[in-house]
Amino acid sequence: MSAARDFDVIVIGAGHNGLAAAATLARKGRRVCVLERSDTLGGMAGNFSPAKGVTAPRMAHLLYNLNPKVARDLGLGERIPLKTLALPSVALSPDGNHVVVEAGKARFADGRAHPDAAAFAALHDRLTRFAGLLAKMSENPPPGLQGSLLDPAKLGELIRLARLGLGLKRLGKVEMREFLRILMSNAHDLLLDEMGDGPLAGLLAADAVRGAFAGPRSPGTVFTLMYRMGNGGNVALPVGGMGAVAEAFASAARAVGCDIRLGNGVAGIEVADDRAVGVLLDDGTRLGAGAILSSAGPMPTLKLAGIRHFDTEAVRRLRHHRCKGSVAKINLVLSGVPAIPGLPVDLNRGRLVIAPSVEYVERAFNPAKYGEMPTAPSIELLLPCLSDPSLASDGRQVASAIVNFVPPAPDGGWTKARRNALLKTVLGVLEQYAPGLSGLVTQSETLVPPDIEALTGAPGGHWHHGEMGFDQVLTNRPANGMARYRFGVNGLYLCGAAAHPGGDVTGAPGRNAALQLLRDGVA
C-alpha cells in the first residue's frame, strides 16, 4: 500500500464531469490529479478526426444543459473562452412541411404559421418553468431523510426543499397542480393532449427519450424531457466542436493547478482500512491520495476498488443498475452539403430531427426491447461544418447522427454485418429526407453501445450513464444508499453522470461530488 500522498484527490476520468470535479476541488486549494485512460479529453464530449483535415464531434454534438453554476465556477465563457452558436431545431417531415423551433416558438420552415404554434409555445413555456424549478435540485446532492435537524447540511437541505416548495407555490395553485400531475406522466399523453401528432410533437417526444431505454409512452418521460430543459432547453453548437467544451473544462482545471494525465488508465483503487488511499495505474505506478473521485460507471468503479469492499446488497443493486445503451452514433464525412427538399438552405445548419410523430418514436423503440435491429429509427442529425467551417477543409461536411433506438446487445452481438446493416438503415432513413445524401458519403463511423462503453466507460454505452427513470434518480441514483456521491468505501466518490442529477453535458454531478467531498472533510 502506498502510504505516501501524492495528491489530495485523484479523479478517474477526464470527461466533463471529472474535469468539473477536479476544477472545483483545485479551486478550493486541493492538489488534484485527473487520470484518463484514453488519449483524448472529454469522454462523451470529445472530438475526433475521421479524415485528414476534418474534425467531428465523436459522440455528443450539442450543448444545451450546461449547469450555470458550473459554468460560473469554472469561468467558462469568461476567463476560459467557450463560444457557442444557438441553433434552431428542425422537425423534418416526410411531406416536406418541416417545422422549425427557435427560442421556444414553432413555425413551418417556409414561414407559414404552424396550427399548434400557440399550444407549443404555451407547453414549452410551462415545461421550461417547471424544469427550472427542478433544475434547482441539480445543484446539490439529492434531498434525503438522513441526518439530524441540527446538522447544518441537513438544515441547508430543508431550506432548499422549502424553497422548492415556495417556488411551486409561486406557480399558483393551477400550475402547481399541473406540475404535480405531469411530473410523473408520459410524453405521449402530455404532447397529444396539447397538440396533434406530427413532426412537432415527434420532435419533443424524441427529445424526451433520446438516450433512454424507453418510448414516449413510458411514464417518466415527461421528467426526462423537463430534465433536458432545465436550462431553457435551447441547443447550441460549441465553436470548435464538442471537443472545445472538453478543452474548456480542462483549461479551467489546469488554470487552478490540476494535473491532467492522458493515457493513464487506472487498474485499481487501493483501499486500506475501509478508506480509498490511492490508485494503481495500468503501467504499475502507484499514486497515493486522500480521496478518489470516479467518473467511471458505478460497476466499473466498484470493480476497480474490489467487490469485497462493498456490501452484497449494494453490489446486487448495481448489478441491476439500468443502463442499457440504446443510442448509436453515426459519423459521416460528406463530400458536400446534402440537399433537404422543403428546407431553406440556411436551416440546414439546424438540429435536424427525424421523428415525424410520437407514434413513430414509440415504434422506433419497439425492436430494441427484444434485441432486434431498428427498421425506422429516430435520428438527430447535425451538419456542424455549416456553422463552423473551421471543422473541415475542401468543402467537406461532417454529418453527425444520433440514432435511437438500437439494441444494446442483439442476439449474436454487434457483428460487422449488423453494423453495416445499421448504417444502411440509417442512410435509408436519411435518404427519405435528404435524397442523394448516401452518394456524398466518403467515410463513415458506426458507434454502437458496446463501442461507446469501450471508448468512454459509460456503463452499457448508456448515453446518460444509466437510465433516468424515477426509480433511478434523486436518492436512488445510481442506487439506494449510494446516492450522495459517497461510494461505500470512505473517501471514494462517484462523480460521473451515473450520480445525481444525471446525464447530459451539465458538469453538475462532478461539481456536486466535489462539494460533498469537501463537506465531508476527507481531503
Partner: protein, 551 residues
C-alpha cells in the same frame, strides 16, 4: 310524465361502489335512491345467466380487494356473501411443462426450485417486498388522498399522516418504496428471478386492466392493486365469491334495501340536474325525475361529466382535465359454458392448481409484445389471459358435471385498428369472433380440446364492456392507474376528495381515489365525505388509523 320523488341522496349506478355509498348513507338514516340503467344491479360485479343453467361472473371474476372493514360494517356475510380462497394457479409452457403456484409453502419452494434453485429464496425476498408495500399502502385506502396544494386543515392533516408514514419507513426503506412505486414489473422481476416462466407467471398482475406493458414504469405499483387485498387476513390471496361476483353486489343491495334504501333499475341517468351551481337531482332516460340535494355518481368521471352533465355547469379547466383523464380499454373477456371439465394434459389429474388462475404466457418479452400489438390498435396475437374455472369449487355456477370458465384477456384495444382505421365501431361480430379465435388458439397451448367442450361463449370486447356496464372504453379500473392519475391526481387535480365542482355532487366510483378493483373503498370514502358535508361524520364508522398509531 314520470315520477318526481324527493330523496336525501341519489346514487347513479348500482355498481359495488355506488351500492356501498348508498348503504352507508342509508344506514346513517338518509333516504337514499339508487338508479341503475340495466335491468339488474351490480355494475361490473355481476352474476348473469346468459346460457340456461350457467352463471357467469361476466365482468370481474375473482375477489380479494373488497375491504374487510366494509364487509363487516355493512354485514355482507349476513346477506349471503361468502368468499372462498382458491388454491393456487399455473402457467403452462408450450412443451408440456408448467410452473404451478402452490398454496403449500414447502411445495411452492420445491416447485420454484424445479425451475430455478436460485429463485426459491428469491421468492421470499419478492414476497417480503410486495407484502411490505401492501402493508404500507393499505391504511391509505380508506382515507382521503392528501392534496399537497391545499392548506385546508384536513388536507394538512392527511399530508401530515402521509409524511409520518413515509418518515416511519426510514431513509433506506423510503428509497426502496419510491423505487418500487416507480419501476416496471418487468424490471422488478428481473431483479429477483432468473426463470422466465416464473417471471411471466408473476408479471400478469402488473398489467391486468392497464394500457401499459410489463416494462412500463409504474407497473410494479399496479401489481399492488392485485396484491393488497386479502382473504381472511392472508394478504395477496384471492377467492371466489360463492354464486359469482354478483353475490357481492346482491349482498350490498340487500343490505341497502334492509336499511330502507330504494333501487330503481332499467332506467339510467340521462342528466344530472343542476341549478345555480348546485345539484338538484337526476333526470332518467325514461323521463322520470328524482330530486335530491346530494347526488353521487358511480359512473366514471368521463361519463359522468362529459355525457350526462351540462358543460355550462362546469368550470372549463375541470372539463379539460376530465377530457384528458386516461381511461383506456385494454382488456377483453370470454365467458364460456363447458359441457365437461376439459383436460389439461400437462397437469396431473386433480391437480389443485387447476382450481386457480391459469395462464399460457411464458416470457416477459411475450407479454411486452402483447402490449406492442395493443399500442397499434390490435388485440395481442399471443394474448395474456387469466383463466379460471370457478365451477370446480362453486356448485352454483354450472349444472352438475358441466363447467363455467372465465377468461380475462389482456390486451384488446377499444379503438380497433382495421385497415388503418382505428375505431370502436370496428368491433363487429366478425372481429369479435376473430378475437375469440386468437384467445382459443392460445388456450389450446395448455388445453387442446377446449373448443370441443364449448357449449356457449360470450365474447366481450372493450366496446361491449363499455356498452353494457358503462365503463368508458371498457376500462376495468375506471381510469388508468398511473401516477398522473393516482392519489391527489385522481380523478383530476383539485378534486380528489370525492366532491365535485357542482355543489352536492360526488364521485363515488373507481375513478376516484384509491382507484379500481372490487375494493369498495372509493364508495366508502365518498360516503364519509358526504356525511362530513352534512356535519354527520360520526354517522359511519371511521377506519382511519389515528396519527401516531402506526404499527
Amino acid at each position: 310524465m314520470g315520477q318526481h320523488d324527493t330523496y336525501d341522496a341519489i346514487i347513479a349506478g348500482a355498481g359495488h361502489n355506488g351500492l356501498t355509498t348508498a348503504c352507508y348513507l342509508a344506514r346513517a338514516g338518509l333516504k337514499v335512491l339508487v338508479v341503475e340503467k340495466n335491468d339488474w344491479i351490480g355494475g361490473a360485479a355481476v352474476s348473469r345467466s346468459l346460457h340456461e343453467g350457467w352463471t357467469y361472473s361476466n365482468c370481474s371474476y375473482v375477489c380479494s380487494l373488497l375491504r374487510r372493514e366494509i364487509v363487516r360494517d355493512l354485514e355482507l356475510p349476513r346477506f349471503g356473501l361468502q368468499v372462498i380462497p382458491y388454491e393456487g394457479g399455473a402457467t403452462f409452457t408450450r412443451d408440456g411443462d408448467y410452473f404451478a403456484y402452490l398454496s403449500d409453502h414447502d411445495a411452492l419452494r420445491r416447485e420454484i426450485s424445479r425451475h430455478s434453485a436460485r429463485d426459491a429464496d428469491a421468492y421470499t425476498r419478492f414476497s417480503q417486498t410486495v407484502i411490505r408495500q401492501c402493508r404500507f399502502i393499505r391504511p391509505f385506502l380508506l382515507r382521503n388522498a392528501p392534496d399537497p396544494t391545499s392548506l385546508r386543515p384536513r388536507d394538512l392533516q392527511e399530508m401530515l399522516y402521509l409524511g409520518r408514514k413515509a418518515h416511519g419507513l426510514g431513509a433506506h426503506e423510503l428509497n426502496e418504496t419510491l423505487r418500487f412505486w416507480t419501476m416496471s414489473i418487468g424490471d422488478f422481476l428481473d431483479e429477483h428471478f432468473e426463470s422466465d416462466l416464473i417471471k411471466a407467471h408473476l408479471a400478469g398482475s402488473g398489467i391486468i386492466g392497464t394500457g401499459l406493458g410489463v416494462y412500463s414504469p409504474g407497473t410494479a405499483y399496479v401489481l399492488l392493486h392485485h396484491y393488497m387485498g386479502d382473504v381472511d387476513g392472508s394478504i395477496g390471496a384471492w377467492g371466489f365469491a360463492r354464486g359469482g361476483m354478483g353475490a357481492i353486489t346482491k349482498a350490498l343491495g340487500d343490505s341497502f334495501t334492509e336499511a330502507d334504501g330504494t333501487i330503481v333499475t332499467g332506467a339510467g341517468v340521462e342528466k344530472f340536474l343542476v341549478q345555480d351551481g348546485r345539484v338538484t337531482g337526476v333526470a332518467l332516460d325514461n323521463g322520470d325525475e328524482y330530486r335530491a340535494g346530494i347526488v353521487g355518481s358511480n359512473m366514471d368521471v368521463k361519463r359522468t361529466f362529459l355525457k350526462h352533465t351540462d358543460r355550462a355547469a362546469l368550470p372549463d379547466d375541470f372539463v379539460t382535465a376530465v377530457e384528458r383523464f386516461k381511461i383506456r380499454g385494454s382488456s377483453g373477456k370470454l365467458n364460456i359454458a363447458l359441457d365437461a371439465l376439459p383436460d389439461f394434459p400437462a397437469a396431473p389429474k386433480g391437480a389443485p392448481f387447476l382450481r386457480g388462475d391459469l395462464h399460457c404466457s411464458t416470457t416477459l418479452d411475450e407479454l411486452e409484445r402483447a402490449y406492442d400489438d395493443w399500442k397499434d390498435g390490435r388485440w395481442s396475437s399471443e394474448p395474456y389471459f387469466d383463466m379460471l374455472i370457478p365451477s370446480q369449487i362453486d356448485p352454483t355456477m354450472a349444472p352438475p358435471g358441466k363447467h363455467m370458465m372465465t377468461v380475462f384477456v389482456q390486451y384488446a384495444p377499444y379503438d380497433l385498428n382495421v385497415g388503418g382505421v382505428r375505431s370502436a365501431d370496428n368491433w363487429d361480430d366478425i372481429q369479435r369472433k376473430a378475437f375469440a379465435d386468437a384467445v382459443f388458439d392460445k388456450i389450446e397451448q395448455c388445453c387442446p380440446d377446449i373448443r370441443r367442450h364449448v357449449v356457449h361463449a360470450e365474447i366481450r370486447s372493450p366496446w361491449d364492456i363499455e356498452n353494457e356496464v358503462g365503463l368508458t372504453e371498457g376500462n376495468i379500473f375506471q381510469g388508468e392507474l398511473t401516477f398522473d392519475q393516482l392519489l391527489f391526481n385522481r380523478p383530476v387535480p383539485g378534486y380528489a376528495s370525492y366532491d365535485m365542482p357542482i355543489r352536492g355532487m360526488y364521485l363515488v366510483g373507481s375513478s376516484a381515489h384509491p382507484g379500481g378493483g372490487v375494493m369498495a373503498a372509493p364508495g366508502a370514502n365518498a360516503a364519509r365525505e358526504i356525511l362530513r358535508g352534512l356535519g354527520r361524520r360520526r354517522a359511519m364508522p371511521d377506519h382511519r388509523e389515528p396519527l401516531g398509531a402506526e404499527a
